[in-house]
Symmetry: C2
Subunit: 176 residues, 2 copies
């Protein structure tokens, strides 16, 4: 199973693709960050993030997408942009027909460190160890995205199976 993890953000959007099976060592395919210029118009930034995510989906063909869930308790000054970036990430996955699952930071931390309140350094350390990398993924947003992907692999896409397959049940209607 190959999973794209996304740690959403407007200025830095972490991305990581890993491959593996539940309970087995995962293999890192690619990790990094998508950056957009805070001086650029918001719609163009979202378009740039979507374009880069779509390019990753096309190139690496993951089976699923895991996105960090955004809460209104997040940093107030950035929460709206983070939510918008997360919406674009979910949309990019759904448009390709992939199951999209969201995980809370606690769920991800618990999956990779065994402890839901682990700090960023612990997550980076464990990601490095779990993937048997010689160097830690940088910046932290990339490590967080990779951790999301590992979390989803290890949970065997369970959430995705439970909540997926609803493609045809969304009702929409524009009334004139």
């Amino acid at each position: 199973m190959r999973v794209l993890g996304v740690d959403p953000g407007l200025t830095r959007c972490g991305v990581g693709i890993v491959e593996g099976e539940p309970g087995r060592t995962c293999r890192l395919i690619v990790g990094g960050v998508i950056r957009t210029d805070p001086g650029t118009e918001l719609a163009e930034r979202l378009l740039a993030i979507e374009g880069k995510l779509t390019a990753l989906l096309t190139k690496y063909e993951p089976d699923a997408v895991a996105v960090e869930r955004v809460f209104s308790q997040h940093n107030v000054s950035t929460v709206i942009g983070t939510a918008q970036a997360s919406g674009v990430a979910m949309l990019a996955g759904a448009r390709r027909g992939l199951p999209v699952t969201t995980y809370t930071p606690s769920e991800v931390k618990a999956a990779v460190t065994g402890y839901g309140d682990a700090d960023k350094n612990q997550v980076t350390t464990m990601v490095t160890r779990l993937l048997r990398l010689t160097e830690a993924p940088r910046p932290a947003d990339a490590a967080d995205a990779i951790a999301l992907a590992i979390c989803h692999v290890w949970r065997g896409g369970t959430k995705a199976r439970l909540t997926g397959g609803t493609q045809n049940t969304t009702r929409t209607g524009v009334r004139q």
Copy 2:
């Protein structure tokens, strides 16, 4: 000038297209709401909203998109979904190369009622009057979206001209 106004929301996303010139009476092309089922997976709801918005852009070919700006002070229980829907709306406009402008609720209210603290009923009343409609647009989300479009027409797309044309300046990069 033809403008699509979007009052973003996950369960009810208001949409309205008007045509007009600054200082002249606007003409309503279409107004309504895009509804998605709260019981459906989030990514699928965003995909449905994007699909319906894209269909409107294709059918009515507006020159610009105006989206209500989302603040973290919004209703805490729905702000994340509202922000995600707004991100999808901005993306849908930007993908078609249209200028996308955001307006605060106060700016829209001031534009159509002359008073930035006007209530929803006043906005609906003025939208009905300004467009010379025989019946008020329902629900309120549709009226709000139409008000956004009127606001943008009357401001002559000024904001769009000031902030637009930056399509090629967004920098992105995925580091491996």
